[in-house]
Structures are given as C-alpha cells and as structure tokens.
C-alpha cells in the first residue's frame, strides 16, 4: 500500500512510520505545518508544531530512507481548530482542540489530500487499535471496523480519535496500537537509530504558548470585564472575560472574600450572554445526566443495540476513567446540531462535566460512539 506517515517530529510518529516501512508499505513522511507564524508556537522540543519538530521529523524520515514533505495546513488549522477553540470558550463551553484537530485536520484535511494524491492510508503514532471483523449482513457478510483502546491505558488515545468515525478510520493505520508501553516505543526508536527516541512527550495545547490558555484567549478575544456571582446572584468578584473560565475550575477565580460556609468554590456555570461567571460549592458540579450533540456511531452499533436504552461505559475527558451508564441515541432533537445522545450515569455521579467536551461511549475496549456534551445536570436536583 501507499502509506502517508504523518510525522510530528515526536518519537511515536517516527516509530509508526518505521513500522509502516518495515511492513513493506511504500511510505512517504509528511509533516503538517499548522501555524502561519511558527515563532508563536511554543519552542523547545516538547511539541509537534515548531521548527525544531519539523527538523526532527525530517531527520527521522532521512534515517528511514523515505521521502519527506511539509504540508502547509495552517489556514485550515486556524479556520477550524483555533476558530472553534475561541468560539467555544466565547460561548461558555470547554473545547477539546485535540479532538477538533483529529476531526478537521488529521482525518479530514490531511486524509482527503492524501487520498486525492493516491495514498491508500494515513499512518499516525496514535495509541489505539483498529479491528476489522466480518459480520453477517442482509446482503451477505460485510466488514465492520471497530476502534479499540490501546493496551497501554496511560497512553490510550481512542477518546480523541473516536470523532474520526468508522469511514475515515478505514483509511487510517495506527502501527503503535498494540504497544503496551511508551518505553517499548522508545526502545524501538533507539534500536533504529532514531534520534527522537528520548524526546519528552508533549502535553500542552500546541498553539497556546507556555500552557497559558487564559493569556491566549485574552490576546485573541480582548478584555471583557464582568462579574463573578454566587448561586444566589450576589456579586462576589470581578473578571476580565467570562470566556476564560471553565465549569469545574477552582484556581484563579480571584475572589476577595471566602464563602460564608468557608468551603472552596468552583465555577459552576459560565453565562456568555451576560458575561457572568457563577461560582458555587463542589456539590453543584456533580452530574448524572448528560446530553450530547453531533453524535456519531461506529459500524453496526445502532443496528445491534435494541431500540432505546443500552448499557455501556462513558468517558468525558482524555485521561478520565470510564463510568457505567445507560445510553440512548436520540435522533435529531430541536436546537441541537446533529443527532443527539442521552446518557444516564448508573454508578457514582461525575464532577465538572462541561458543555463542549467530548463524551465517548465504550463497551470494554471498544468504542461505540461519541458526541459533544451539550448539557450535563443532576436528575435529583433539576435546575
């Protein structure tokens, strides 16, 4: 197969490319340039988007003996991932830019261009597994593609990949899917003489310098002073822009005086219409109902689940634990983009589930579907 290896400059994508080469594929390395002004992206060797990273990717491609290109996807990145990041925060929601990057950049812009150029698949260094299975169908057996968690729990990235959906993942390869530890991947890199073998992992948002999300939002959205109120509507502080606050946030609230009961206060709501941040006690963050929008289901999930509620597990953040739930695909609901998803948690409630986050539905290691959280609440104490 002709395989495009997306090479960030990190160790994972370098080893993924190496494995694709060794599997006998005709591999070309491509590094995505995602910033128009690359100086604004963080420097140092921690990321995937700096000049140093592009150089590391080129060096790895050289060692593997494969062609290497840089594709300028900076306009698309700005128009989709960065624009979504800003508008979601402005709307009082909590976006996950890595999910949006997979949705719009890696498994759309990159994948579509690769396909047009004649590539059969895009290989990335993600930790997740694609499993193909023959299932009986109305018109004879057919192949379904399932997305599964990596055996490496700490690194598993199925949560951020689910958004790509089954059709796009049919053209994806995750050569690291079976690796149980990052150390193993580093050892593979070292064995091949790849100089990125000891490169530190990246954690921060690539376009936010120094991990300062609030500073980035302020530089792009400007200062918009407003009030911080408690759940009774009493003004307890001021802020420079409600967009910079996230439901569940505790630090950086800048409240002058302590709450009457002396307990810690959290952001429990962000109201963009009035530029107001609402704070309250931790109990208000507990939810057991979640509604999702833009729901997407993997092959065969809805056909094989009985109409209505089914049992599964849900995960609401990248490295969160899955919790048991009853789930229902609700079709299109008014005021909600795309098909909806309803979730009732059947175990302990979750804390700090904000609109804008992704919710992924699992059964064991298998991804059943995913959606974007539109609302989360406590059934017992309906607001």
């Amino acid at each position: 197969m002709r395989v495009l290896a997306a090479m960030s400059g990190g160790v994972d994508s370098a080893v993924a490319a190496a494995l694709a080469v060794e599997a006998g594929h005709d591999v070309v390395g491509v590094h995505m340039a995602l910033s128009r002004n690359r100086d604004q992206f963080r420097t140092g060797s921690r990321g995937c988007c700096s000049i140093e990273d592009a150089g590391d990717a080129r060096r790895a491609a050289d060692v593997l003996g494969i062609p290497y290109y840089v594709w300028d996807l900076s306009e698309r990145f700005e128009d989709t991932v960065v624009a979504d990041f800003l508008s979601e925060y402005e709307a009082g929601r909590t976006p996950n830019p890595c999910v949006r990057c997979n949705e719009h950049i890696k498994f759309e812009a990159l994948l579509d261009k690769a396909t047009a150029l004649g590539f059969d698949a895009v290989a990335t260094g993600h930790y997740a597994q694609i499993v193909t299975r023959e299932v009986p169908g109305a018109h004879g057996p057919r192949t379904v593609r399932e997305l599964h968690r990596s055996p490496n729990d700490a690194k598993d990235q199925s949560y951020v990949l689910a958004v790509a959906g089954p059709e796009r993942l049919a053209r994806a390869m995750f050569p690291l899917g079976g690796f149980a530890s990052k150390d193993e991947v580093r050892a593979e890199a070292a064995r091949r003489g790849l100089s990125v073998s000891a490169k530190p992992d990246s954690y921060d948002i690539c376009f936010v310098a120094d991990g300062d999300t609030r500073g980035f939002l302020q530089s792009r959205l400007g200062s918009r002073p407003g009030e911080v109120v408690d759940v009774d509507g009493e003004v307890v502080g001021e802020h420079d822009g409600a967009y910079a606050f996230t439901v569940g946030q505790r630090k950086g609230l800048g409240l002058g005086r302590p709450a009457a009961d002396g307990k810690a206060r959290y952001v429990v709501d962000v109201q963009p219409a009035t530029n107001t941040v609402v704070v309250g006690p931790a109990e208000l963050l507990s939810v057991d109902r979640i509604a999702g929008e833009k729901a997407l289901w993997f092959d065969g999930v809805l056909e094989h689940e009985p109409d209505g509620w089914f049992d599964a597990e849900v995960q609401v953040r990248a490295h969160g634990a899955p919790v048991p739930a009853r789930v229902r695909a609700a079709g299109d609901l008014p005021d909600m983009p795309g098909p909806a998803l309803e979730i009732e948690l059947t175990g302990a409630p979750l804390r700090g589930v904000a609109a804008g986050q992704s919710v992924v539905v699992y059964r064991g290691s298998r991804v059943l579907g995913q959606a974007t959280v539109s609302r989360a609440w406590r059934a017992a104490a309906a607001r």
């Binding site: 190496a18 080469v21 060794e22 070309v28 590094h31 340039a33 690359r38 000049i51 592009a54 080129r58 060692v63 593997l64 003996g65 494969i66 062609p67 290109y69 840089v70 594709w71 300028d72 996807l73 306009e75 698309r76 812009a109 579509d112 261009k113 396909t115 047009a116 150029l117 004649g118 091949r192 003489g193």
Partner: protein, 428 residues
C-alpha cells in the same frame, strides 16, 4: 553513535566518473530536471578536486607546500577570468553565489556611502534571488538603506523606463543597482547592457547575479560593462561551496568577511584550493562547450514545452516565449491551475522525475514565488508552479519520462487542490 545495523532504505549505487573529457555523472533511474538547483559535477572537475584535496598546503604559506596550493589557485583564477572575459585581478573567490551577492550588495553599499553619505538608495529588480534581496533588506533594517524594487513586465523582464525615471530623480542618492543576468525561476534574460548604459552617466555601479547564466548563455564581464558579477561553481559542473565575485579594481568595495586579508583584503579566509581548482576546470569546460550545448538544450527545451502543453493542456507557460531568445535555453516553467506545487513535486518525484517549484521554502513549506507575483501572476496560480531546467546530462528520455507521468500527476494534484481548497486557480 554506534550503528550496528545498516539503516533501512534504498542504498544508492555510488556514482562513478565517466567520460574522459569531463562528461558529468548522473544518478541512474531518474529524470533530473533541476539543473538550476545544482548540476552534476563533471568528471574532470572531480579529478581536479581530488588531486588538489590530496595535497597539504595553505595558499598563503610561503613554503613550497603553500606555493603549490597558491599555484593551483592562481591557475584557476586565470582560467576563470579568461572564460568570463575578466582580468585575473578582478576575481575574488568566495564560498558561492550567496556570499558573492552579499559581498556585492553590502560591500558596494558601504564603499559608496563612505564616499558620499547621501548614497543610501539600493536599486534591485523585483525578481532578484533572495541572496540579493535579503542583504538589501538587511541593509534597510540595519544601515539606513532605502530599497527600490524595480518592476518587471509579465515575462519577468526589467522595466527599463522605471529604472531611468528612478535614476533621473535620485541618481545622487543611489549607492548601487543590482539586476540579475538571468532569472533562476522563469529564465528571463535581463537587459543588463541597457542597465549599464542607463547607470554609466551617473557613475553608479551595477552588479549582476550571473549564477544561472554562465554555461547557458554567453557571459562576458568586460564587454557587459558591469562593475561586479556573481558566479557559482556548482551551477556549471563544479563543486558546491565555491564561487566568485568578479569586481572591477576601481570599484569601491568594502569587506564583509574580515581576517587574514586574502583576496585583496575583501574576502578573508583560507583559500579552498581544491574547490577553486575544480571551479576553474568546470568553468572552462562549460564555456568551451557553450555553443553546442546551448543549441542542444534549446531544442530539447522547446520539445519539452511543446510536449507538456499536449500532455497537460491546462499548463500555462510562464516567462518569455522560448522562440524569443530572451530565455535561458535550458529553462521551462509552468503553472498548473488548481494544483499546488508541492503536490506536483511529490507526484513527479514518485514517478522518478525530479523538478522544482522554483521558489523558496520556509521551513519546508513552499511559498508563492515573489518572481511570479512580481510578474502579475495571481497568488493562487503562483502556488501551482513547476520549473524544469535542463543541463549537460539531460536527454530526450528525461522529457519522455516527464510527459508520460504528467497527465496523471496533474489530474491528481488538481484533485488534491480541490480538496485542500488552497489552489483556487480555477481547476479545469
């Protein structure tokens, strides 16, 4: 690093020298259509390089080892001067075209301003190589220079009236003029003699970057009347890393590199005798072979242009009409509407055809060519540029390979352009 296993990937057959009289070597199994980027080193140049590199000796040392090196350098200086219509004393060896351009732009600017502080204007054509443009704009940022970008027509040819008007208004404040001999992207031959004629009444020095011209078209330093000229070895069958600035002895030229005072104090640094010797051999050979080679390249290029327009009817030829004679004989340049240059490049490379977008990259990302933009080509169309440049080793089989691959390459690149939505040149 200890390597215990050979690195994976294709192992290239070592190049072997072939041909007794300097016929260059080439990589097998690929059509190399990028001679404007660099040329294969001729066997004679390689032999001269190796012979000199095996010797120990600093050309500035006074003992016999030094004298031997000095002799190789001076012979090459004479050879180069003769090939280019210059006197040996006018040859300043450098590390290549970029250094020569930097020395000319900065050195003449400083030298002229030292004579008269009003001289701050630097006139350069809008289609110069970055090795001229960037030092000029550096002077603007660091030394109070004012840069005047002289416009060009739709074929990339200097607007002489604009130059004359500029000189009529600002001659007293003008430090220098730099107009290339031939453009590296679209191959346009510039009216350098007319530039000299316009500048001479005002006594303003003219520099020309002739890196692409030598070996492709007749270049005579003295006859051209320019005050300084950049040449480079690896564009004419010599090694990378050596070039020269030809500079008249009466030119006010300050040094850029200071040190041991080599090259009449204008360019310090131990002379690279091996590279210089190879440069001399390559230059002589390139100039001796010029008439036959230019005719052969012109015929091959004309066939390439004709066959590309059949294989890819949407292709738009950029630069002067080949028949006009205003174009380097080995240069062909097209834009492909709706396609991005890097897609075309990748697809051709995987089909064994090596070409170039012709323009500079920033961190690996091809930028729309400033040359095409100066010619009035819209940015979206400029993104779909491909340059094919022929040289000594080019054959009809190379052109065959290109036109065989081209229809599918262009179709695919245009499909990718539609998906990426960036090359909006009206995909057809």
């Amino acid at each position: 690093m200890i390597v215990t296993t050979p690195p994976p990937g294709p192992v290239r057959t070592p190049l072997t020298a072939s041909g007794a009289h300097g016929e260059p070597t080439r990589e097998p199994d690929a059509a190399y259509l990028d001679h404007a980027a660099t040329t294969p080193m001729s066997a004679a140049a390689l032999a001269a390089y190796v012979a000199e590199a095996q010797r120990t000796g600093n050309a500035s040392s006074l003992h016999s080892a030094g004298r031997t090196s000095r002799r190789a350098v001076e012979e090459a200086r004479e050879t180069l001067a003769k090939a280019l219509g210059a006197r040996p004393s006018e040859v300043i060896f450098t590390s290549g075209g970029t250094e020569s351009d930097n020395l000319a732009i900065k050195g003449i600017f400083w030298g002229r301003r030292a004579q008269d502080t009003r001289r701050t204007r630097v006139l350069v054509s809008a289609v110069e190589h970055h090795a001229v443009l960037d030092p000029a704009f550096w002077l603007a940022g660091h030394a109070g220079a004012e840069i005047v970008l002289l416009p060009v027509d739709a074929e990339g040819r200097l607007d002489l009236d604009a130059l004359r008007a500029e000189l009529a208004a600002h001659a007293a404040e003008t430090a220098l003029i730099s107009v290339m001999w031939a453009n590296n992207e679209v191959g346009t031959l510039q009216p350098v003699r007319d530039v000299v004629r316009a500048a001479r009444p005002y006594g303003i020095p003219v520099h020309t970057d002739a890196v692409q011209a030598v070996g492709q078209t007749e270049v005579d330093f003295a006859e051209s009347g320019v005050d300084a000229m950049t040449v480079s070895a690896h564009k004419l069958g010599g090694p990378v890393g050596v070039g020269a600035l030809l500079a008249r002895r009466d030119l006010a030229l300050d040094a850029v590199l200071h040190g041991g005072g080599q090259e009449r104090g204008v360019r310090s640094g131990t002379l690279d005798a091996a590279s210089i010797a190879a440069f001399g051999v390559a230059a002589r050979h390139a100039v001796e072979c010029l008439p036959q080679r230019a005719a052969r390249l012109r015929a091959l290029r004309d066939a390439l242009v004709a066959r590309v327009s059949v294989a890819a009817p949407s292709a738009v030829l950029r630069g002067p009409e080949p028949a006009s004679g205003d174009r380097l004989p080995g240069n062909a340049h097209f834009t492909f509407p709706g396609a991005e240059g890097d897609s075309l490049l990748y697809l051709l490379d995987s089909a064994g055809v090596q070409a170039s977008t012709g323009s500079a990259c920033q961190a690996g990302v091809p930028q729309p060519s400033h040359v095409l933009l100066a010619m009035g080509v819209p940015e979206a169309e400029a993104r779909g540029a491909l340059r094919f440049t022929l040289g000594a080793t080019s054959t009809e089989a190379d052109v065959d390979r290109l036109v065989t691959a081209l229809p599918q390459v262009v179709a695919r690149a245009q499909a990718a352009g539609l998906v990426s939505g960036r090359a909006l040149g009206g995909a057809s």
